[in-house]
C-alpha cells in the first residue's frame, strides 16, 4: 500500500468513452499499481470518480485504460465507497461489466 504521504494509484479498464460518470457511485474493477509482488491485484468496488481538482486532492489517483489497453492521458480521482465480492456473481462468457452493475444494484 502507498504511504500516508503518497496517493494510492489504481487503474481501471473501460469498454467505451463515457463509461466513467462523475458525481455518482459507479461499480468498477480496480487494479492496484503499488510496486511489489502483488502489483496488479484486482478488486471489485463501488466508487465515486471525479476530474475536479478540488475533489481529486482528497481522493486516490485513477488511471484509465481502454478496451484495447491504451492508457488515456487524463488522470481521475477515485474514492472507494464499498467493496464488491471478488467472486462476482455472473454468467461466464457473458459481459463482466453487466455483472458488476447488477452486483452494485443488488448490494452484493
Amino acid at each position: 500500500m502507498a504511504s500516508k504521504t503518497e496517493k494510492q494509484v489504481w487503474e481501471t479498464f473501460v469498454r467505451r468513452p463515457g463509461d466513467l460518470k462523475e458525481g455518482e457511485e459507479v461499480p468498477m474493477v480496480l487494479r492496484d499499481l503499488t510496486s511489489g509482488k502483488k502489483k496488479y491485484q484486482m478488486r471489485h468496488v463501488v466508487a465515486v470518480v471525479s476530474r475536479k481538482p478540488e475533489d481529486m486532492a482528497s481522493m486516490d489517483q485513477l488511471q484509465v485504460r481502454t478496451v484495447v489497453g491504451i492508457l488515456l492521458p487524463e488522470t481521475w480521482g477515485v474514492k472507494i465507497v464499498r467493496e464488491l465480492p471478488i467472486e462476482l456473481p455472473g454468467r461466464p462468457y457473458h459481459d463482466f461489466y453487466d455483472a458488476l452493475r447488477k452486483a452494485a444494484v443488488s448490494g452484493s
Partner: protein, 476 residues
C-alpha cells in the same frame, strides 16, 4: 525424447538455441520486452535466471518453440531441418497413439501447497505487454479438463491471468474444447469444473496441448505417440485429474459456473491486442504443487510467437485430415508462420468452383479460426510463399475467384479485423481465394502456360541446359 522441460533446455543449449540471462530482469514488462524482441529477431529461447521480487531459485523459460529450429529439436530432428521435413515428421508420427501411464508420484509433488499455504503471487507471473489486463501465469501451459459424461480428457493451451492471491481468470474460447464441456455440462448443472493448469511439462505434451485435435481425441495419448513413450501422469491433490508427473508447476483450480471476473485484454497470437475483454471465466485456485527450483514456462505472445510454428503445423495437418475425410482432393496444407494461424494455403489435385465451395464449407462448419484460405494447384509448392503469392496474384480472379462464407456464434473473436460488435456476437467470415484454374477450361486451348524453366521448355532443352550449366560460366 525429452521427459521434462529441463531435458529440453539442455538440448536447446547443446544445439545453440538457448540463451541464459543471469542479470536480474523485472517481471513487470522487462522480461516481456526482452522476450518479444528476441522472438521478432528469430532469436533463441530464453532462460531468465534471476527475476526481480522473486526467490533466486524461481526462474523462467520463455518461447520454447518459437522457431522451426526448436520445433525440429523437439522432434529429435536436425535443427536445420526444412519446414517440409518437420511437417512430414509430424504427419508420420501423429497417427500413432500411446496411452499415458499413471504413477504414484513425481517431481511436480516436491512442494505441495494446499488451503491457505499458497499465494499465486509467489509465482513470478510476468506482465508481458504494457496495457494487458493483468499478469499472465498461463501462456505456455496445458489446461487439463475432463468431460464427466464421456470421461474424455482434454489438454488445451489457453491463457490464464492472475486476478488475486487465489483466483485466475482465463479465456479458453467458448468454442474451444474446454469451453464446450464447461458450457454443455458444468454451466448447465451449475457445478464448478475442476481443471489443472500444467506449467513446464515435457515439450511434446505442450505441443499437443496447442494442437488442433478432434473432439474426443486425447492429447495425452497423442503426446505418447509423438514421443514414442507414454507420458507419466500423477493425480492432483484436490481433484481427480491426472497431470504430467515431471511438470514444473501445477495449479489446481475450479472454474466457477456462476461468477465472473475481468479477463484481458491481452496481446495474443494474432500479433495484436484486439480488445477481447471481460468475457472469460473465473477460476478459484485450490492447490499449487511444484518441483524444487520451479521453472515457469512462458510464451511471450505476439507476432511470430510459439503459436506461429506449432499451432500452425498441427492446424495444417488437421485441415488436411479433415478434407481427406470429406473426400476432397487435398494434397498439402501449409499454415504460414506469418499468417498468425489466420490463413491456410491448401494445395489440391484439382480445383474449380465446386471444390472451393466444399472446402470452405468443411472448414467453417463448427468453429472458424481461419479467415483466409488460398487454394492452389499442384504445380505450386504450398511451403514456398513466393510461389503462393505468384499464384494468388495471377490466378485468383478478382471478381469470380473469391468465395465468402459468413457465420455467427463460431467466429474467432481474436481476429483483429473484426469490430467490437462482431466479437461480441462471435460473428465473422472466411474468404477463400481460388488460385486454381477453372475445371472447365481446356488445358490445350484455355489454360495459360506457366512461364517458368520447368514448364515452358521441352524436357530435352531443360536437360541440356542443366548439363551444360557450368559451361556457361556459372558456379552453381
Amino acid at each position: 525424447m525429452f521427459d521434462d522441460t529441463r531435458d529440453f533446455i539442455e538440448a536447446l543449449c547443446a544445439s545453440g538455441d538457448l540463451h541464459e540471462i543471469e542479470k536480474e530482469v523485472h517481471w513487470d514488462l522487462e522480461l516481456g520486452a526482452v522476450s518479444r524482441l528476441t522472438c521478432e529477431k528469430d532469436g533463441p529461447a530464453l532462460w531468465f535466471k534471476r527475476i526481480a521480487d522473486y526467490r533466486a531459485d524461481y526462474t523462467a523459460f520463455v518461447n520454447p518453440m518459437a522457431t522451426w529450429r526448436r520445433v525440429a529439436v523437439t522432434f529429435g530432428l536436425p535443427p536445420a531441418s526444412s519446414l517440409k521435413e518437420i511437417y512430414a515428421e509430424y504427419e508420420k508420427r501423429e497417427g500413432k497413439l500411446i496411452p499415458p501411464l499413471t504413477v504414484e508420484t513425481g517431481p511436480c509433488k516436491d512442494v505441495i501447497n494446499l488451503g491457505k499455504d499458497f499465494d499465486i503471487y509467489d509465482l513470478p507471473a510476468p506482465m508481458l505487454h504494457d496495457g494487458d489486463g493483468g499478469r499472465y501465469l498461463g501462456t505456455w501451459d496445458i489446461a487439463v479438463s475432463r468431460d464427466p459424461e464421456t470421461n474424455w480428457v482434454n489438454w488445451g493451451m489457453y491463457r490464464f491471468m492472475v486476478y488475486d492471491s487465489r483466483h485466475l481468470t482465463g479465456f479458453p474460447r467458448p468454442t474451444s474444447h474446454l469451453g464446450k464441456v464447461f458450457q454443455d455440462y458444468y454451466l448447465a448443472k451449475n457445478k464448478p469444473m475442476p481443471i489443472a493448469l500444467v506449467i513446464g511439462a515435457d515439450p511434446i505434451s505442450h505441443f499437443t496441448a496447442s494442437a488442433t485435435y478432434h473432439i474426443g481425441g486425447e492429447e495425452a495419448a497423442l503426446a505418447g505417440g509423438l514421443r514414442g513413450a507414454p507420458v507419466e501422469l500423477v493425480r492432483c491433490e484436490t481433484n481427480d485429474l491426472l497431470v504430467p508427473a515431471n511438470s514444473e508447476i501445477i495449479v489446481e483450480c475450479e472454474v466457477l459456473p456462476n461468477c465472473v471476473g475481468l479477463e484481458g485484454p491481452y496481446g495474443e497470437y494474432p500479433g495484436y491486442r484486439t480488445g477481447e475483454m471481460g468475457n472469460g471465466i473465473l477460476c478459484r485456485v485450490t492447490a499449487v504443487t511444484h518441483r524444487k527450483n520451479p521453472i515457469l514456462t512462458i510464451d511471450a505472445t505476439g507476432y511470430r510467437d510459439d503459436s506461429s510454428t506449432i499451432t500452425a503445423l498441427t492446424g495444417a495437418i488437421a485441415i488436411k485430415r479433415r478434407l481427406e475425410r470429406h473426400g476432397l482432393p487435398v494434397l498439402d496444407v501449409n499454415v504460414p508462420r506469418e499468417g498468425a494461424v489466420h490463413m491456410a494455403v491448401i494445395g489440391v489435385k484439382y480445383g474449380g468452383k465446386q471444390v472451393a465451395k466444399e472446402i470452405l464449407e468443411t472448414l467453417t462448419s463448427r468453429r472458424a479460426l481461419l479467415s483466409k484460405i488460398l487454394l492452389v494447384d499442384p504445380d505450386v509448392d504450398v511451403y514456398d510463399l513466393g510461389q503462393v503469392f505468384h499464384a494468388f496474384s495471377t490466378k485468383c480472379h478478382p471478381a469470380h475467384g473469391i468465395h465468402v462464407v459468413h457465420y455467427e456464434g463460431r467466429a474467432n473473436t481474436l481476429t483483429p479485423c473484426y469490430s467490437q460488435g462482431e466479437r461480441a456476437l462471435q460473428k465473422g467470415a472466411t474468404a477463400l481465394y481460388d488460385c486454381t484454374w477453372p475445371g472447365e477450361w481446356s488445358r490445350e486451348w484455355e489454360v495459360p502456360v506457366k512461364a517458368t524453366f520447368e514448364t515452358i521448355f521441352p524436357r530435352s532443352v531443360q536437360q541440356k541446359v542443366l548439363a551444360e550449366w557450368k559451361s556457361y560460366g556459372f558456379k552453381d
